[in-house]
Structure formats: C-alpha cells, structure tokens
C-alpha cells in the first residue's frame, strides 16, 4: 500500500499523526527489527547446538527483544503475538501439548514447514522456556527428538518474528499512517490511530500490574508463586520492568512534550523493583517479600496514572466507552 507523498506531508503537519509516525519509526519498527534479529540468532545457535544450556542465553536475548513490542496487540500482532508469547496458560496447554509431542515423537515436531499449524501453546518463547528450563523437559541430548523439536521451535519463532516485522513495516504501519483517509475502517481519523497506540500503552501496564504481578500474588492467604510469568527462567520481575520500560518509551514517542513526571515514575519503578528479593518471585509466601512485589505492582499502576495525566489528558484521550463499562 502506498500513499501519495503530498498526503504524507500534509498529514504529518498535524500533531496527532506526528506522534503516530514517531511511535512507528522510533519505537515499534526498530523493536520488531530487533526481535527478528534476536530470534534469528537463537535459530542459528540451535542449529549448531540444541541443548538447553547452549540456548538459554540467546533465548533470553530474544525474550528481552520481545518485551519492547510484545504487548502491542494490533495489526499483525493482534493475534500473531499469541503464537510468539502464549501466556498465561490457565489451562496448562503448553506442558500437555509438548509432552504429547515428545511422548509420541510426532513428525510435526521436527518439520519446520508444518510446525506453524501446531497449537499456539506449543510454539514461541514460553514453549521454549518449558523445553529449556523445566526439569522434566530440559535434560534432552543432541540427536534426540526433543533436540530436533527445539530446533523446529526456534526456526518457527524466527520465521514468525520475520513475518511480524514485515507485517508491521510493509503493511500495518501504513494503516496507521493513513488514519483518517478514505476507506481506512480501522482508524477513521488521525486521532484514532494515536488513541489506538495510547490504548496499547495503558493495556500493557494494566496487564503487567494485574496479571504479570497480580497472578502470582493471588490473595494474601493464598499466593501462587508458580503462576508468575517465566518463573522457571527467573525472568518474572525483569519482564514486568522491561514491559513497563517499553510501554513508557512508546508513550514518550507519542507525546509532544518531554513527559518529566512519567520519566520520574519509571525511575521510581526501577528503584522499588531493585528491592525485590527474588526476581523469580518464588519467595512471595513470605509477607515482607510479598510486600515488596506489591509495591512494584502499585508503582506500575502509578506509572499508568501518570501517563494518563501527562499524555492522555492533554490529548483528550480517554479509555473506551464500551470496553470500560460492560453490560
């Protein structure tokens, strides 16, 4: 899809579209590029050495890259994100599906061509975490079925990352840029594109507070540490902070002001996160350890409120009328 240059220039003059353009060029497109590069590096490593120990470092690098754009649920990643990152797995699909593949040595597990037809629970970063970190999965040897499965999974992940990057760069970026133009049903005005991206910022922070941190916290009487995201790899706290970093960075690209309060709120989030005693969040049955995680959760919410006040308020952006008040 191409839009005339003149139209680009005219629309770029409106502040709303300027924010959208900066979000794309400074945050989103480089983010998907970085993830594609990291996922490809993981695939290359796995081709040479599929063992869990060899893959932990490039897997972590790919996950770090994913956090920069992984909470964007629009365009190619509206559903495409879920086969890269299937979490939470409330029904326990991931271990069950992987276990069945391995027990039956199903051919699809060693065929990168057809693996994309697999259940999303057996694909992507979280399924790989299961293979690399779970005691009953990670002890596989070179040449085993599991080894070939992991190679297939990393090839599939790299292919997905490449497709998502291309889908954003060559397709959906233009949908955002052409907001308000004839026939754009997704964004009927330039402001709708800006609002769409702003909503992604708030949804990401809400998910981090309520689910990434809230799910393991459970209730005071019954904390659920093994419901933490990526607890096996010890990424639970890092993920919360990295996703909040990314949401804040996206908000700053959308803004036409320096956003000093938002930057302060993010700095404060890093401070309180540094005081958490176990980055895997596995000690939250201890009340004082739990309290430190609750403070992180509160600060993620405070960060979200700060962004609402500093970005959403001045731009006249509000949460969805229907999505906020069900019937």
């Amino acid at each position: 899809m191409r839009i005339p240059l003149l139209a680009c220039l005219t629309l770029a003059a409106t502040p709303a579209l300027a924010g959208t353009e900066e979000a794309l060029s400074d945050h989103i497109l480089p983010g998907f590029g970085g993830f594609a590069t990291a996922a490809e590096a993981l695939r290359v490593t796995a081709e040479a050495d599929c063992t869990a120990e060899a893959l932990k470092e490039p897997w972590n690098a790919a996950f770090d890259a994913w956090t920069q754009v992984g909470d964007l649920r629009m365009g190619p990643t509206e559903t495409g994100a879920l086969s890269v990152y299937f979490w939470p797995d409330a029904r326990g699909f991931t271990p069950r599906t992987l276990g069945r593949l391995i027990d039956d040595e199903e051919p699809i597990g060693t065929d990168p061509e057809t693996f994309s037809e697999m259940s999303i629970a057996a694909r992507g970063l979280m399924a790989l975490e299961q293979m690399l970190y779970a005691d009953d999965f990670s002890g596989y040897a070179q040449g085993s079925y599991s080894c070939a499965l992991v190679q297939t999974m990393t090839a599939d992940l790299s292919a997905q990352a490449g497709a998502l990057e291309a889908g954003w760069r060559d397709g959906f970026a233009q949908v955002l840029r052409s907001a308000g133009q004839e026939g754009n049903a997704l964004f009927q005005t330039p402001d709708e594109a800006l609002r769409g991206l702003y909503t992604q910022v708030l949804s990401s922070l809400e998910f981090t507070a309520d689910t990434r941190l809230g799910r393991p916290l459970g209730t005071f009487e019954r904390p659920r540490p093994t419901r933490a995201e990526s607890w096996r790899s010890g990424r639970a706290l890092d993920n919360a902070v990295l996703f909040a970093d990314a949401a804040t960075d996206l908000a700053i690209t959308l803004a036409d002001t320096p956003m000093p309060q938002t930057r302060d709120a993010l700095e404060r989030l890093h401070e309180v996160a540094d005081r958490v005693t176990d980055p895997a969040l596995q000690d939250i049955e201890d009340p004082s350890a739990r309290l430190r995680v609750e403070i992180v959760q509160q600060q993620v919410r405070a960060l979200s409120q700060t962004i609402e006040a500093e970005l959403g308020g001045p731009l006249g952006l509000t949460a969805g009328f229907n999505s906020q008040d069900g019937d």
Partner: protein, 357 residues
C-alpha cells in the same frame, strides 16, 4: 379493503394513541443511544447508510434497549441499579412514561415488545436474592404494570419474543449481585441458563452449559426460523478463552461456537452484542474489550474476525451487519470487510437496535 369495522378500529387506535409512527421521524432502520462530547446523552435513529434520521436528548445514560414496533417510541433503561426506565418520544425526546418497577425489583437493562406492540416485557431481578422476574407492562394503558412471572433463573439480562409471537426466550445471566453496589456475589457457584417460557410464564425448556458454568449468558439474537444465538461473558479465571457464542434450536442441545485459540484469547472473554446477518446465514458477536468482531456460520464454524476499537453495537443489515463503536463510528461489515459509513462526535452505547427487516 377498509370495512366499517376496521375503519372504526383504526379510528379508535388513533384516538387512544396520539403517538406517531417511525415515518414521522425520518424512517430510521435502527436506534442507538450515545454519549455526546459535552457529557450529555442522546438517542438517535439511524438509516441503513448510517446517517442520522433523528436525534433527541436523553435525560441520562441508558441503553436504547428496545423500540416499539410501530410507534416512534423507544425505551431507555437507566444504568445500574435499574430503578427506572423511560419511554421516549423519538420526535422530540419527550419522556412519555416513566416505568418504575415495584420497590423490591431492579430492571436489568433489557426489555422487549410483543409483536403487536401491546405489551412490554422487562428483565428484572428481585433485590434481595437476584432471582429473575419478567415484568409485564401494558403499552396501551400508559405503560402500567399488569403482571410479572419468574424468569426461571438468576439475574436475567436479555429477552426476546420467539418468531411464533408467544414464546419468550430469556438469557438468565446467573450472576447474583449486591443490592447496593452490584458486587458479584456468586461467581464460584453461578449457573446461567437459557430458558423458554410461554406467555403465562410457564417454563417450556431450559438449558445450562455445565462445562462453562462461569460463562454468563447475556445477549440474544433470533432468526425467523427460530434459531437462537446467545452471547456470553466469562466470569472465571482470565486466559481460559472459553467460547463466547452459542446457537440453539428448540428441542436440541446448545451448540458452542469456538474460534481458534489466539482469536478467542483476543476477545478477552467478553461478548457485548450478538446479531444474525441480514441474510441470516451467519451470526456475529462483538467484543469492545478486544476491539473485534467474530463471525460464525449458522453451524458454528468460525468465519473470521474484523478489528475495530471499542466496537460493541451490532445489528443485521441487508448487506451483512451494521456495527457501532465508542469512537462514534458506524461501519458496514460484509464478509471480512468493514466499510466506514459515518463518524459522529459521540460514543455509541453498547447496543444498536434494528427496527424492521
């Protein structure tokens, strides 16, 4: 042919009811409520092309939950806790009647007219225990309350008259709520059901979905041959991705319509409206939380998704569906394609009500 008797009858009807028909308000095909940028509320009539046929003020936020089949009157239900409903004259927004349920009843936001428009049925619950009640109002007698019967479930939400003109189908949402703050009280033990009642309130048929007991059955769509679509809202653990649409035909077992897992997850466990397409060979649900619409064929097979932020209102259109959203957009959905028709500086409320087919 006009006989003396029908002539007299029409004369009588005219004198009994000074109200006018929908032609007098621009022949809208749909009505919908919306919030305006200044914080006030309106009720609008929309034509097939999405343009406004009329616009009148509403005194408070309310759903355009139902419209009289002939007279240009719409009923707006007050937001929770549902202590009143207003019958609004669509010519000027005048409140023609204020419906107040008995003291120990709460209106639950939906109602439906009998086919001839003589009666209005409202979904209500008993204040003390959320047991469902269907209120009956006589539209020819200043909307006076003339009776009620049990809905045969807890917390009824949507209700419709079946194509036979006499059977009621009711979505008993199953959720017990606190009388003051509407806190949900029974999420762990809720049992929503789909119930069919005759005109006297006798239970004819009832279905639960035991494998998804925490899926509140809330909204209904009907096809002229009696196929019922029911949309659900998940109250259980997030991320379970349950089916959000069911299809049912009297005497059969309900069929649950599942989307692929990634699509189901993107709906965020919530369907806000349901409608059959204009041809009736497919059905769709909307999720304002997921910002998307899911289409299924009439045998429950997933057909595809359409994305649109805060989409919720949905109704049949001759070419597919008309969808409204909180950003003020009205879109025509035909197969996988959404075409923007109009955009108003207003946030369209949850439902889009079709006046005639």
């Amino acid at each position: 042919m006009t006989t003396r008797r029908t002539f007299l009858a029409s004369l009588l009807a005219a004198s009994a009811s000074p109200a006018v028909g929908w032609a007098a308000v621009g022949n809208p095909s749909y009505v919908a409520a919306a919030k305006l940028p200044d914080g006030s509320y309106m009720l609008a009539g929309l034509r097939e092309d999405g343009t406004e046929a009329f616009r009148v003020p509403l005194p408070a936020r309310g759903h355009a939950a139902c419209a009289h089949p002939e007279r240009a009157e719409a009923v707006g239900f007050a937001r929770r806790p549902g202590s009143y409903a207003l019958v609004v004259d669509c010519r000027d927004g005048a409140v023609l009647h204020r419906l107040t349920p008995p003291e120990d009843r709460q209106l639950n936001g939906h109602g439906t007219f009998s086919q001839d428009g003589a009666l209005l049925y409202t979904a209500e619950q008993r204040v003390e225990d959320s047991e469902g009640v269907i209120g009956i109002w006589d539209t020819e007698a200043n909307y006076s309350r003339i009776g009620e019967f049990a809905s045969h479930g807890v917390g009824p939400h949507d209700l419709r008259i079946m194509p036979d003109g006499k059977t009621l189908v009711i979505a008993n949402g199953g959720i017990k709520t606190d009388r003051w703050d509407r806190t949900k009280l029974n999420i762990d033990s809720m049992r929503p059901n789909l119930s069919y009642l005759d005109a006297d309130g006798m239970l004819l048929e009832q279905h639960e979905i035991p494998e998804f007991a925490q899926n509140s059955i809330r909204h209904l769509a009907l096809r002229p041959d009696g196929l019922v679509g029911f949309a659900m809202q998940w109250e259980g653990e997030p991320g379970m991705a349950p089916p959000l649409l069911g299809l049912h035909r009297r005497g059969e077992t309900p069929l649950l319509c599942e989307a692929p897992l990634a699509d189901e997850l993107a709906m965020d466990g919530y369907a806000g409206s349901v409608a059959f397409s204009g041809t009736g060979d497919e059905i769709a649900i909307t999720s304002p939380r997921g910002g998307r619409l899911h289409r299924f064929d009439d045998e429950g097979q997933f057909l595809g998704a359409v994305s649109r932020a805060d989409v919720c209102g949905l109704a049949a259109h001759d070419s597919g569906y008309l969808a409204s959203d909180g950003l003020g957009g009205i879109q025509l959905v035909t197969a996988d394609t959404a075409t923007p028709l109009t955009r108003t500086e207003a946030a369209w409320d949850n439902h889009l009500i079709r006046l005639r087919s």
